[in-house]
Each structure stands twice: as structure tokens, then as C-alpha cells.
């Protein structure tokens, strides 16, 4: 009995709080307001731009949105100050290594490479073929595998964590959402 009561109690309270937040939160959604107040939680602006480019390579836009549009960068940034705090230094190091290597090889930032150049570059990281010292000790493979995994979590996981904007991957997979009637308890 206690088990059920606790659940229902929480739901009602949370539902109420959720509605209240929606009501007041909407005032802030003016374009000017967003631009001036929004800051990444962990990423720098240039790191976020690089992450957007990586996200689109990992899950490219086609007739369905790519990783960037679905909020992969937002998801990872959010998790890096939450459960993924332990990955912060790897991201910082990996981003620096990518830009450093691109600068040396192409005299460009990663996001300014052509699409195919980017793909080939990432395939090389994934395969563990990076010769530069920044990637030593198998960091190339490890870094790519981490970013790829987190990007898949963002794109295909629940939108409550900051990715999969508007349930776009569920729609792409033709998965009904919400689950079934009576189960619409989604928390954003």
C-alpha cells in the first residue's frame, strides 16, 4: 500500500510543480533574453562549435535532423556537470588535440574542414591511427568511442536529459510517444 501511495503522491506534486514552472518559465523565452543569458555549463563557445560538428558527423542530418539539431552538444554539456563530471578532462583534452592536429595538418579548425575531410579525420581517430603526441597511449580510440557513445545517448535517449529534441529520434523510428494511454508522465 505504502508503495503505491508514495508513487502517486510524488506524481501529483511533481506534475503541479512542472506546470507552475512552464507558466512562469515561458516569460524568459524571448529571443533577446535567450541570447544574453544563455551560457554553456562546461563547454567554451568554441568547444561547443566543435562538438556540434562532431555530433553531425556521428549522426548526420538527412531527411531527419542530425546530431547538432537534436541537441547532442547540450546533452553532453549538461551531463558533464552532472553524472559525467569524471569525463570533463577527457573532453577538454580531446577537443584540444583535435584542433591542434587540424591546425598542424590543414591550418584550419576541424569545423572548417570539408565534410569528407572531417569524416576521414574522425575515421582515423576511431581507428587509433593518430601519430601526434596529443593522442598517445590509445587516447585517440578512447576519446572517439566516448564521444560516439555519448552522442548516441543524446540522440536516442530520453529528451529529459537535454538531447533528442522534440522526441525526434522516436519519431524517426516510428515509436509512439508517449508510450501508451495513461502513461503520459514524461518529465522534461
Amino acid at each position: 500500500m505504502k508503495f503505491e501511495m508514495t508513487g502517486k503522491d510524488k506524481l501529483n506534486r511533481r506534475g503541479f510543480v512542472h506546470l507552475a514552472v512552464l507558466g512562469t518559465g515561458s516569460i524568459c523565452l524571448l529571443p533577446g533574453c535567450m541570447k544574453s543569458t544563455y551560457k554553456w555549463r562546461f563547454f567554451t563557445d568554441s568547444e561547443a562549435q566543435l562538438m556540434d560538428a562532431l555530433a553531425d558527423q556521428i549522426i548526420p542530418p538527412d531527411e531527419w535532423p542530425g546530431g547538432r539539431e537534436s541537441g547532442v552538444t547540450n546533452f553532453i554539456d549538461k551531463q558533464l556537470v552532472g553524472p559525467y563530471v569524471r569525463f570533463q578532462s577527457k573532453y577538454r583534452k580531446g577537443f584540444a588535440a583535435i584542433q591542434e592536429t587540424c591546425e598542424t595538418r590543414y591550418h584550419k579548425k576541424f569545423e572548417d574542414l570539408t565534410w569528407d575531410e572531417q569524416t576521414i579525420f574522425l575515421e582515423s581517430i576511431e581507428a587509433g591511427n593518430m601519430k601526434e603526441s596529443a593522442w598517445a597511449g590509445g587516447f585517440d580510440k578512447e576519446f572517439f568511442s566516448m564521444v560516439r557513445d555519448h552522442s548516441m545517448q543524446a540522440y536516442y535517449g530520453s529528451p529529459r536529459h537535454g538531447g533528442n529534441k522534440n522526441n525526434m529520434s522516436y519519431k524517426m523510428l516510428k515509436l509512439d510517444y508517449p508510450l501508451i494511454i495513461g502513461q503520459n508522465r514524461y518529465k522534461t
Binding site: E4, G7, R14, P60, P83, Y84, T119, Q153, M172, G182
Partner: protein, 534 residues
Amino acid sequence: MVAKELSIAGLSVVLFERGGWISYDDHTDDELISQPISPLGTSCGPDDKRYRRVIVYPDGGSRIVLPSEADYNNIAACVGSGTVSYAALAWRYMQEDFKMKSTYGHVPGSTIEDWPISYEDLEQCYEKAEWEIGVAGDDSKNPFAPPRKKPQPMPPFSHNKGARLLNDAALRLGFHPFSSPVLRNSVPYGGRPACIRMRNCNGYPCPVNAKSGTHNTVIPVALASGNCELRTHCVVSEIIVNEQGRITGVSYFDEDNRKKIQPANIVILSASAIETARLLLNSKSKFFPKGLGNENSWVGKNLQGHAYPKAYGIFENDVYDDFGPGSSVTICDFNHHNPGIVGGGYLTNSFFIRPYSFADIRPPGTKLWGKEHKEFQRLNYKKVIKVHGPYQEIPRFDQQVEVDPEVKDLWGIPVARLSPSKIETDSKGCNFIAGKAELWLKEAGAYFIWKSSGTGKGVGAMSHQAGTCRMGNDPKTSVTDKYGRVHSIPNLFVADASLHVTNGGFNPALTIMALGYRVGGFIASEWNRGNRFK
């Protein structure tokens, strides 16, 4: 089970749980926070803030792992524990599963052994678990099922689209398919409603309370008896031994992390194979310098789980109909008596694979990102069936739980250190079973199939963890007697999968429950006959 058996028999019981009561609403439809898939945390605990373990790799390297990482081998930390979040398969082990050594002989490099009890000794306890907790199933279609006196209480579940294809294919192949037994209500039972067939089930609490576990059956009965007090958010750290070498209770940390003592005449451990062993090993004293019950260094040894040999098949048409939770058709044709193989396992269609997990499922050699990867996801998400099953691992002495000499959890208690060991027999058997999965999918109409033996090199005990306090008749090669009583200590018992000598080719939940009834029933009847376990 034990708390219920003791409290209704009139004994006074304190039940410790490190977590609290938990509900579906805490994590709803969230693939990233569930129990088996937990990159952002477990849905039912333990949490990343307070808990740690150390994992040792086959190359000898080791590292600290968090509960949200697969290497942690988590079991839910909440009232009802794994029975809240489990897939709820309700298997009786077969007669051979209790007599592995007699059936197959000694396997070099292993500690394969017969149980000190037979299937017949446990049959009544299986029946009690099926009726008190609630099982839906029908053994009559399974010619390999062990003999039973009473049928399962609820009718079996109907199949979804994928399972129907597999069911017909199995019949054509001469296999013997049937609907898997589950601890889930197919009809209203025990005052709780029938299953609503959601796609989420395995890894989540049930939103309508149709999945049956200890939290909604025996624990409420124990509490209603007036003889059982449940202390949630309490972490037991040590079993107390007095100056005479006798066990007098446990010390624990309460919900405010204050250290407290609970005196007791009898202590029963049901913390799952890893934590039960850790607690015994952490209870060191001048009488028991290597930990309780560990005179012969058998505590924590023989850690087992299941390998999962598998095959995936792609079909021309959609096979996914969202009629959850997915798994329902099983064959037990390959559990035993396979040529050249020790044991085996059943095969079944898997629970629905959620989108993030599906992103890792690709034929070998396929790129795991980019345009092709996304297209595969979009085209095949509803066209793939996975067939797999738990393969009975052969126990190895040195696949083990120790306590780490340095790493401690939030409360300063030394954490469990898990070390792997694999032998060749397992991968041979797994390849054989994966081959049968492939055959089955082909007959069902899959046009493209790939398979995997499912044997990792690390510790893969996961939620099926077992074997660390083996029961046996010889105190030199086991930890407890055939009633779960630690050999050297009359008032200390174990009642969980730690007792398993071998772990069957099945999910262990119903066997754990049956052993709970056996141990609890034994203590209650002895106590009421005047035995004070001194």
C-alpha cells in the same frame, strides 16, 4: 521470504535495506537511467555518490568502478531489490542443474559439483514461490520441465508478433516452444492487476504493480504480522562477534549515517552474491581473522553469472508490434545433453531493445556512426529479432569477490573487488547455443543473421550473480550446510544466490526465492521446536 517466514512464525525480525521504497514515476520511460542500462545512473540504486567497487581485468589491471558502469555488476538497492526491476522470469532449475558433476563428470580447471540438495528437495519451495509471489506460465508444453505437483497459478502470456514467428519456426524445426514463465500477472492476482504489456519492463519498476516481487508480496505480509520492522536506508557494515566467539548482532549505518548496533539471536544474510560475501569478509575478529565462515577460504569464490550467446536476424517486414515487454517464447531443447558440451541454456526472444541500445547492434564490420549507421537504425529498428539465452557458466574457484585493501565506500567500509576467470568450456558451449539461435531465426524468415558467443573476458556476473557462499556437506569445500547455515557458526545463515553451487541455464530469481523459503522455513520450525542455534 525469510523475514516473512520468521515473522509469521512469531519470531521478531528486523529487516535492513540499504535503499528505500521506489516507484516507477522516479524514472518513467528512461532508457539511460534503468537497471541493466544505466549510463546516467541506476533507476533503483545503488547511486554513484556513495558506492564503489574495484574491478580486476583479465590482464591483471584494475580500476575503481561506479554503480552506473556495467563493470560494477549492480543489483537494485531498494525495498524488494532486484525483484522490483527484474525481467521476472520464473524458472525452476532442472534436475540436472542440481547434479552437474554427476551428470557431466569433473571439468578440469573448474569447481563443478553437485548441490547438497536435489530438485525434489526444493520442489515444494518452488511451488510456494510460484503461488505466493505469483507466476504466469504453463509447463505442459515443455517436455524438458522438471516434474511438478501443482500447475503455475496464472495462465501463460500470449505472444507478440516476433514471438509468433519464432513459435511457428520452432515447431517446424522440431523444437518445443512454449510461453516463458514469469513473475508477472497475466490475470489479476494477489490483489494486484494484470500486466498492461508496456515495452519497458526489464529494468524498471512496474507502473501498475503487475510485476511481482518481494516488495509487493512477502514484505508487506511480514510487516502486517506485527513482528517485522523494516529499516530502510540502513547499510549493514559488519556482523558482530563477542568475546566468546559468538555472533550477537550487526552494526550498521542508519539513514543519517550514524553507526548503530542491532543485537540479534540469529543473523541471516540476503544481500546478493557480491555483497553477502563482502559482509562476511569484512566481519573480521580474533576468532575469525579471515572473515566469517572463511576458515577454508571459500567465501567469495566461485562467482558466477551467465554468458548470453545470441543471434540477431533482420526480417523483410516489421516484427516489432510494441506489444510488450517483448520476450515470451522459449525453448529448453538445449539446456542439457548437448553433444560434447557441459550444460547449456534455454533460448528465447529478447525483451524489446530500446533505441540507444539498438545503436550498438550492427553486423560485424559495420560502421558504428555516420550516415549508414543512422539509416540502418531507421530502416531496421522494427525489423530485427534478437534470440538469446543464459548459458550455464562452469564455476571457477578464482572468479571471486574479495575486499579491496584500500578502496572504501562513503561509510568507510572496504569495497568488493571482483576478479575474473574463464575456461574454454564456456566459449565452446556458447558458440553451440548461438548456432541454434541462428538456425531458429533463419527458419523464422530472417534474411540476414549474425551471431555472437556472448562470452566476455571480464566478470559478467551482473544481476544473475551467484555462488560465493556455496552450500555443501563438506565444510572444507563449501561455506554453508544444506540449510544455508554457515558451517562453523550455528546462528549465521545465508539465503540468496550466494548458496548456488552451480547456476543453471536459467534466470535465478525463482530458485533464490525457493531457497529463501527453505532457509526461512528451516529456521522457523527449528526455533519453534526450541532450537536456539547456540
